[in-house]
């Protein structure tokens, strides 16, 4: 736990007893802060206990070390003084560079040991040098001020800001000398300055100039000579230089007025370095932290940063973040998303589940998004009373930790619980949302950034994370649809984007993901397996359409599913005759919509599905199974409906009939009924409009509302007439209509069967034996008269004889007489048979 708040390794801690004490204090402080949470408290307690034990041990060890060290230091100092004098002299004389051209005398630090004596003791927080008998000399003597050029070995170093010389002590006791001190006496070897010992970068925090190899020293000096701005320089160089700045800024300023005046320049230099090397997280962390604290304490600036500091590479709260948050709270500035996220994510007790760990970027975006949605103005938090301790742990190992003293008191946000709970809530929902995405990436680690992976992201994240893949999808969809309602495209066009590798068959899961992905973009496609359509055929076509309302999502209603089955059947029928007339299509959609309670989104999808059906003509495979589960009543309704579809264009083609036969078979309805239904559909006379299906309020909870029962006249029983046995209801309106129709046909027939009454009154006809009516010639008239005269029963033979007498053919005469009778009295005179039946009333009339 301590290590979370410190940038040093526990091992290092172990050997530094005094630092251990500080850590203990820090831990205690934490304990106070984290007392709210039981767990935190428990952890703190155990940490403190350990800390105390360790502290005791270290105290003892430290005493032993100090006594040992004192002896060693004394010896070492003597030796180093000798060495410095000797080697520096050699070095200076051996330097081949022309002294005249040198801008200044090598103002290396004074090498005389007496200078060391003149240094006042430093008023340090932890006086590390109390055991040291030989006081360091004033650091000013070693410090090359800004802007002063200096020549070291063969390098001319502009800009200064380095310690040069011999004998500057580190402020931490166990260190021999100041790590940042450039000792001109140490040799350098310029051979291949490009090569930098790699391991140095790893030990960047334990560097000292002294311990560098000759080659690395040359490298460092070259970097300095180059103006400390080579971005490719190893970060160890920067750290080594930064060590000096730290010491100057934090500790020299306590004793030296010169140093105090340099504060702005030092801060500026740190800022400059950050600008170049800020990418390196560890350096960035130290530099930023130092900057933030320096501004606050030295410049008395309460800076409200826009963006939170980058995450500490070691985890846990960075001091800078705490300062930033504290400043915000103190200034009553609301916490914005990024700050909240940093706060949350850096909290040592936060446990992130796999989704957040596997997809940190997505998680962060989602967190910010949700935070923004929840707190558009930011979250305003009242400053708490716990004060933030501003303790800086310098990167320079030769420096003790530094306690900043600020005039402004900043609250310590670490103890705040309530905001954390809010953040945790947001984070938890975010992780839940990312779960499927994370799982997919877990299974397919290479799939990051592919459309399939993106499809699993929450819709709002898509625009942020989509990248090129999303753009290409958008481009395709927009270009295809532009301002149309539907677009029919080759499935391969879309699938090539979806799965660039290509495949023969789209798995169901993948198809669903694709649909969901499109939905997130505000589009949809048909066929969509989620709605009972068959799978997308990669070689076939698909229909794209815009989702009308975002809310119209899966799952759609039960009615829709019923409609799908119906539509599929009906489309098969409509397609049957080779072309689908607009009427048929219209009829299809209109009736489905009327029959079933569908909302806008469903209607759009249904239309799209229809377009697809009509284009792809998938046939009726797989439908049988779905139909089997339907009730006989529903089946009957479907059957009637499909028939009405087939006949919607007023034309029933044999192919349509064949398909209907198949459908009826699937529905377990006998074949004869196909013809009966077709007949009923086509035979309804024009006296009443054909009622295919009566619009009825759909009954909720039923897959298909009341049947399209009344196909034509065959089923004219009205729905409100309950056909219970014994109670028969007649549609009297219909009866009236039929009465009227009947009257019409009756009068029509009357005109035929009862020719107009002869307008001639009998009086006008002279009672002669000659032709009394038009049609009969003399012979027939004679025959008629003979028949009348005979007056009795007339056998066939007698009739034939009578005819022959007059040279008439009997059958023809029979016919002729009857014709005349029909003309006159609208009834036959003779009725066939033997004997022939004579209608005497007609005879009367004819002869009158």
């Amino acid at each position: 736990m301590i290590s979370k708040f410190r940038s040093v390794s526990p091992v290092h801690l172990w050997v530094r007893g005094i630092v251990g004490l500080a850590a203990g204090t820090f831990g205690l402080l934490l304990f106070a802060g984290g007392g709210g949470g039981a767990l935190l408290g428990l952890l703190s307690m155990s940490a403190i206990y350990l800390m105390m034990k360790r502290y005791e041990r270290e105290q003892i060890e430290a005493l032993q070390i100090v006594s040992r060290r004192e002896r060693k230091n004394a010896e070492r100092e003597r030796a180093s003084v000798r060495e410095t004098q000797g080697s520096a002299g050699v070095h200076l004389t051996s330097s081949r560079s022309s002294r005249s051209s040198a801008p200044a005398e090598v103002s290396g630090p004074p090498l005389r040991p007496e200078h060391l004596d003149s240094v006042r003791s430093l008023p340090l927080l932890f006086d590390a040098s109390h055991g040291n008998e030989r006081r360091s000399r004033s650091p000013d003597e070693f410090w090359v001020p800004e802007g002063q050029e200096i020549r070291l070995h063969d390098f001319i170093i502009p800009g200064g800001m380095i310690y040069v010389g011999q004998g500057l002590r580190a402020l931490e006791e166990q260190r021999r000398g100041e790590p940042a001190l450039i000792q001109p006496s140490l040799s350098v070897r310029v051979e291949d300055t490009k090569v930098w010992s790699k391991e140095l970068d790893e030990w960047r925090l334990f560097l000292t100039y002294e311990r560098l190899s000759e080659r690395d020293r040359a490298f460092y000096l070259q970097w300095l000579a180059g103006g400390r701005c080579d971005p490719s320089a190893p970060i160890a160089c920067v750290f080594l230089f930064f060590f000096g700045l730290e010491r100057r800024l934090l500790f020299d300023t306590r004793t030296s007025e010169r140093a105090q005046k340099e504060i702005p320049a030092l801060i500026a230099e740190i800022e400059r370095l950050l600008g170049i090397y800020g990418e390196e997280p560890q350096f960035s962390r130290y530099a930023r932290e130092l900057l933030a604290l320096s501004r606050l304490c030295f410049l008395q600036q309460l800076v409200i940063e826009e963006t939170p500091p980058p995450m500490s590479p070691d985890g846990g709260f960075s001091l800078e973040l705490l300062v930033g948050l504290g400043a915000r709270l103190a200034s009553r500035v609301p916490i914005q998303g990024p700050w909240a996220f940093s706060w949350f994510i850096q909290h040592p007790l936060v446990f992130l589940r796999t989704p957040a760990r596997r997809c940190p970027a997505e998680f962060e975006r989602l967190f910010l998004l949700r935070f923004e949605q929840m707190y558009p103005q930011g979250l305003l938090i009242q400053p708490n009373k716990t004060k933030l301790n501003l303790i800086y742990e310098p990167a320079n190992r030769g420096l003790p930790r530094y306690h900043f003293d600020s005039s402004v008191e900043l609250p310590d946000v670490r103890v705040l619980q309530r905001p954390m709970r809010k953040f945790a809530e947001i984070a938890e929902s975010g992780m839940a949302e990312l779960e499927s995405y994370s799982r997919f990436l877990g299974r397919n680690p290479d799939a990051r950034g592919t459309a399939q992976a993106l499809s699993l992201l929450p819709a709002e994240l898509l625009p942020l994370m989509g990248g090129d893949v999303l753009d290409s999808f958008r481009k395709l969809l927009e270009s295809k649809l532009s301002d149309q309602q539907f677009a029919l495209i080759h499935a391969s066009e879309l699938l090539s984007l979806w799965s660039p590798g290509g495949f023969q068959k789209l798995q169901k899961k993948s198809a669903i993901d694709l649909s969901i992905f499109l939905e997130k973009l505000g589009f949809a496609l048909e066929p969509d397996v989620r709605f009972g359509s068959p799978a997308i055929n990669p070689q076939g076509k698909i229909v794209l359409f815009r989702l009308q309302e975002r809310s119209q999502r899966f799952p759609l209603s039960q009615e829709y599913e019923a409609a799908m089955v119906l539509l599929r059947l009906a489309a098969s029928v409509a397609i049957a005759d080779g072309n689908v007339s607009p009427e048929e299509k219209e009829h299809l959609v209109a009736h489905l919509e009327r029959l079933l309670k569908l909302d806008g989104g469903e209607k759009a999808r249904l239309s799209a599905h229809l377009s697809w059906l009509l284009e792809e003509q998938p046939g009726m495979g797989g439908l049988k199974k779905r139909l089997e589960s339907l009730s006989p009543v529903t089946k009957r309704q479907i059957a009637t409906f499909t028939t009405s579809i087939a006949g919607a264009d007023g034309y029933m083609s044999p192919t349509e009939i064949r398909i209907l036969e198949r459908i009826y078979k699937m529905l377990d309805i006998s074949n004869e009924e196909v013809f009966a239904d077709i007949h009923a559909l086509t035979s309804s006379p024009a006296t009443v409009p054909v009622v295919v299906a009566r619009a009825q309020p759909a009954v909720t909870g039923r897959a298909i509302p009341d049947p399209p029962r009344e196909v034509a006249s065959q089923r004219r029983d009205k729905p409100d007439q309950v056909q219970v046995p014994g109670s028969l209801a007649l549609d009297m309106d219909l009866v009236q209509a039929k009465m009227q129709d009947t009257a019409e046909v009756a009068s029509l027939l009357a005109n035929i069967f009862e020719e107009e009454e002869a307008p001639l009154p009998p009086a006008q006809v002279p009672p002669t034996t000659e032709l009394s009516f038009v049609d009969l010639d003399a012979a027939h008239t004679q025959l008629l008269q003979a028949l009348q005269a005979k007056g009795t029963e007339l056998t066939l033979a007698q009739f034939e004889e009578l005819c022959l007498e007059r040279d008439l053919l009997p059958d023809a005469a029979f016919d002729q007489l009857n014709e005349a009778a029909f003309e006159l009295c609208d009834a036959p005179l003779l009725v066939d048979g033997d004997p022939i039946d004579v209608d005497w009333s007609v005879m009367q009339e004819m002869c009158s």
Partner: protein, 438 residues
Amino acid sequence: MTDQPKIRPRDREIIIQSLSAGVVPRTGHQHIQVGRSEEVKALLNDLRLIAEGGSTVRFVIGEYGSGKTFFLNLIRAIALEQRMVTVHADLNPDRRLHATGGQARALYQELMRNLSTRSKPEGGALPSVVERFITTALKEAREQGSETESVIRQRLESLTELVGGYDFAEVIAGYWRGHDTGNDQLKADAVRWLRGEFSTKTDARHALGVRTIVDDSNFYDMLKLFSLFCKMSGFSGLVVCLDELVNLYKLPSGRARKTNYEQILRILNDSLQGSSTSLGFLLGGTPEFLFDTRKGLYSYEALQTRLAQNRFAQGGLVDFSGPVLTLASLAPEDVYVLLTKIRHLYASGDPTKYLLPDEGLRAFMAHCSERVGDAYFKTPRNTIVNFVRLLAVLEQNPTANWRELLVHVQLEPEGNPDLAPLEGAETDDEDELASFTL
């Protein structure tokens, strides 16, 4: 209802008799026709065309019990009234449009046996037609003072160009000769020939001196000849009514069906192309006969395209000019109206003599519905029969209460005989597996 035609007592008797026997009456259809004015108009137009020398074909398609036969009879009656000659026959396994075993000739025989004119509406009018022709020839001969036979031959000359026309003319002349010479045998032979009753050419040659007879292959040509002959005899045309075409649909042999449908196609083509004159065909069948794409007319591509509905007749528009005329099945309302008509007929058109109030009609229908269910109005035969019987009882027992009688009306659900498989239907040999034993 004020425009009701007056009811002749004889018509009333015939209709009531037929109805109570469960058959379609021969005459008086106008008294009991319910609705269908559009269909009737369409057919009237057809008849007009026939009278003007045209030719028509109508497929009257309706379900079992929808009144096909009644409708055909009605049209036939109208045709007779318009001085046409009608022939009619029901198809059955032994009477087909095309066959090689004499079934087509059998159909022709049946048609000729049923040949009717207005004065002989019950059939057997073939001699009348012939004699009418001869009479006109006779008259003409008298006026011109020439030989009757030569006038006959001269008048029939136009027929000789047609298939079988020469022999037809020969037979008509033979009839005249028989009449002229008092040779009744000759006359009878001529009629037999015309009726298709000669089964061998030898017999025909011996009897009439002609080389051909009416057989399976030429019976349709004979009908065409006969239509012209009717026209010459002073009639306005020939109407051929063929009912129960579903029997063709039920032929078990696909080959037999096809040849029959080819015959129908020929008839249809002749009619549509106008190569037959004054000839009308009325073909009654059930929906499956038309629509079934495996066995029905629709199974025959050429027919199917000709019979398909008018693509433009949609959206409430109807077209009654197509060859297919569909009859809607009866609705309860239709039955109700029909019952009122029967009641009216029974009362001889006098509303004061109605034996049953409207309430009674409804009660009767409710009763039927209760006993039989929906089927009672789809197949009204039983309903009508029982209603007529009820009326008869009421008429003879004026004191009886219809309510009491109603409960005794017995009804049985009717099956659809059209759907029953043919019994003893023969099949073409090549379509059947031969059975053999080892």
